[in-house]
Amino acid sequence: MKRVLVALILACLTLCASAALDPLLVRQLAAEDSDEKIAAIEALAKSGDPEAVALLKRLDEGTLKDEQGEDITINNRVRGKIAEAMAALRLFDREPKARLIAVKELLGNIDPGMATMLAKARDHESEPRIKALLEEAYALATIRAADPAVRLAAVKALATSGDANVRTLLLDYYWNKAAEPDLAIRRVAFASYLEVMQRIEIADLVGKVFSGLSLGSILLLAALGLAITYGVMGVINMAHGELLMIGAYTTYAMQGLFRAHLPGFVDWYVLAAVPLAFFAAAAVGILLERTVIRRLYGRPLETLLATWGLSLILIQAARVFFGAQNVEVANPAWMSGGIEVLPSIVLPLNRIVIIGFSLFVLSLVWVLMNKTRLGMFVRAVTQNRPMAGCVGVPTSRVDTLAFGLGAGIAGLGGVALSQIANVGPDMGQGYIVDSFLVVVVGGVGQLAGAVWAALGLGVIAKFLEGWTGAVIAKIAVLVFVIIFIQKRPQGLFALKGRFVES
């Protein structure tokens, strides 16, 4: 008898896990109507029961089933309410991370009823960053309090916010005489508004400059290889975009390889792809140079046609090997998401990594060109080919190696592109014009010119885009480059010194 009783209790403990919660409320979660669902969520959250939290979490993830065993579906409105309810419960979580997420979630939907809870959370809080956000939340909750002193404090406290919604709210507050009769408080609100606005404007500017630099770094990666082959060697290589494509496809192949054989390290496939993409593209580059381009030195028009034909062959080859459709290259986890600088500006990690990567490639090229024997030979051949030949520089081998170097760097650019753009057979076509623009604006034969031109064009394009939209911005940049070249045909930086051909 006793044993049966114990068994019963045990069974109840496991089966009636949610019996502690009001079963009516739990059933109500499966209601068709969102209002009923939300009422149930709010009632469950109010209980503060850890069971309720677990239940809501499952509802949010879509794994909660109703009595018929069907998934209970929720919409954005319900999802928002769940997030709010969970946030209120998590404000007192032991983990600072959870508290930070909770207060951020709450900030969007503050109502005066939360004031006491927020005050309590704020007084408990030890992390300065979360405390500041709680302060802001508390101010938002008490901005319409009956006591003028509390209102004044709230309006003052909001000056430290960086949220665009707070800015709008403060401006409305200043203008709304009916809701706030006290002119002094309204003036303080205006002062706070100016402060918030200034902060947002600065953040906006930082964001624009960042996206400009990001675009610039991509242009630089795409153009740097061309700066060597076209700028230094004078070869108009229309197949340059396809060398980028080879780099991108190498990344894709590495991803497949890692997924199949090293699933534990799949996040690091990009690093493995870097050297491989360099050598793959360099090998193709050397092959092109040895078989076609070297026979056409000094005949720019024929080179142009021949390399254009090569580019078509390479595109078709990619279609044959990888299919005509784009392939999926996923960002590794450490390149997903972003760093929040202010609520209004998030810097995406993949772009930050690419800016860093372009700096790395740039320094690599600089060291190669200025500190190595090969670099010295390349510079010598650039400046005066017959003379370099006379003093024993193997010009034809230098040509091959320099072309391979340029192609390899294009391959590196392809690795970067695979992380932000689509990878497909004709992806290179979209970059060839931009690459030539960068090299021509920068000044033929100058690496420094390419750097400044890439960053400059990137920032200009992004500022214009914010102002005129993407389509007009693209046209405007082209017009700008045409005018620039008219005024300064030698580009930003002209080579100085004695040259044979000029």
């Binding site: 969102s34 954005n76 928002g80 996206s211 784009n326 998401g337 972003g338 885009e465 389509v471």
Partner: protein, 423 residues
């Protein structure tokens, strides 16, 4: 003399051979009915259109397995117009006048349809167009099996305005720069104005085809949304630009509970290859989702999955079905029914027989071709993205609704006829 006789002989033999060739050719042609498939298999639209080619081939295979049409097997002629709009017209002409196809299934973007329309008109061909579009057109030679604006765009915006949709007050209309997004946004702007939304609360943005850098746009949306009032984004971005757009959206942490994005050209197929976890809750409006549960849909999904495995399509284990694929499937079946009814593949006879055709579609309804206006009566579903890349239907119409190709929100449309001019 000798030469001349030889010449005569040769001519006679050649003529005889040619005649034999011709008869054998026409004998062969009588055994099969040729149908053209005109979808981009490369370029920026390949991401969306390749699956439609596969669906068309699968449906033709299915019909052939059941004995074909009028006792004849269907023979597919596949061409690749490569996301190149003028090439669409060239390939359409080739299909009709050279390959002598009875019907063409094809096109995705409106610009490609606009480019082939004159060809179909001139040669009196027949085109089945399977994608949602902007309306403002009614061609005698075209059947539209996708949605008109009142079957997709307008209900989606109405949903976002409702309490459950978040009661949006400000709107970002974001699209690729061509005729479909521009016209749809024109209709939506007129609709929003009719609902009392001020011009200052609407932002319109366009990007070129194949655009891949959405940082500025996302920053702009954030800024616009930060000016108070609930904001929603209506996206008519087409093609592979959607991948970088959604990647950037996820990275920037713009959540669906704050600023929902509803897309009209993004379905299950386009979201393959995007990490959808940060995108949970963003929306799409269609007339079909893979997640809809009914026997027809289960059979349709199985048919396609088996087809993908059989054809060894890339990533065959993860293939999905979507709305334009369903519309392609309906279109081919309805055409086959109409040919059986007309007992002919003659364009005009088939057009007459198409009126009122019914088909039990994977969306769960008996779908009907309107007797007059060449559009289907379709149900509307609004879905939210789930973590696995599928959609969760959060709103739907009770049943199929009639298409309005001439949107009442564009001035002057009330005078237009709800049927194509016959000549």
């Amino acid at each position: 003399m000798q030469n001349r006789r030889n010449f005569l002989k040769v001519t006679a033999i050649t003529a005889a051979l040619a005649a034999a060739g011709l008869t054998s050719f026409s004998a062969l042609a009588a055994d099969t009915i040729k149908v053209g498939i005109l979808h981009s298999l490369s370029g920026t639209m390949a991401i969306s259109e390749t699956a439609l080619k596969e669906t068309a081939l699968m449906t033709i295979d299915e019909i052939n397995a059941k004995g074909g049409v009028m006792g004849k097997k269907l023979e597919a002629v596949v061409v690749d117009p490569a996301s190149n709009w003028p090439l669409f017209a060239e390939k359409a002409r080739q299909l009709i006048s050279q390959d002598k196809v009875a019907v063409v299934f094809g096109c995705w973007t409106s610009v490609s349809r606009k480019s082939v329309n004159p060809v179909f008109k001139e040669l009196n061909g027949l085109l089945f167009y399977p994608v949602q579009y902007e309306g403002e057109e009614l061609e005698k030679n075209v059947f539209y099996t996708g949605a008109a604006p009142n079957q997709q765009a307008i209900p989606a915006v109405e949903y976002l305005m409702s309490k459950d949709g978040g009661a949006a007050k400000r709107w970002v209309l974001l699209g690729t720069d061509y005729v479909y997004p521009r016209t749809t946004n024109k209709i939506l702007r007129a609709f929003l104005k009719a609902k009392g939304v001020a011009d200052a609360d609407i932002m319109e943005e366009y990007t070129p085809f194949g655009h891949s850098d959405y940082q500025t746009i996302i920053a702009k949306i954030k800024k616009f949304a930060g000016e108070g009032k609930k904001t929603a984004v209506v996206s008519t971005i087409n093609g592979d630009s959607n991948v970088p757009f959604y990647k950037e959206l996820g990275n920037a942490g713009l959540k669906a509970t704050d600023v929902p994005v509803v897309a009209f050209s993004v379905g299950e197929e386009e979201l393959r290859g995007v990490d959808t976890k940060p995108l949970v809750g963003h929306l799409a409006a269609w007339n079909y989702f893979e997640s809809i549960k009914n026997p027809e849909n289960t059979a349709f999904i199985k048919l396609y999955k088996d087809w993908a495995v059989k054809q060894k399509l890339p990533n065959a284990s993860t293939v999905v079905t979507n709305d334009p694929m369903e519309a392609t499937y309906i279109g081919i079946h309805m055409w086959a029914q109409a040919v059986e009814k007309a007992k002919s593949t003659d364009t005009d006879k088939v057009i007459a027989a198409m009126a009122g055709q019914k088909f039990k579609a994977p969306d769960g309804f008996d779908i009907e071709m309107d007797p007059k206006n060449h559009h289907l009566h379709k149900p509307v579903f609004i879905g939210e993205v789930k973590a696995d890349g599928q959609f969760n239907v959060v709103w739907k119409t009770k049943g199929p609704i009639k298409a309005q190709p001439w949107s009442p929100y564009i001035a002057g449309n009330d005078k237009k006829k709800d049927e194509p001019d016959t000549k």
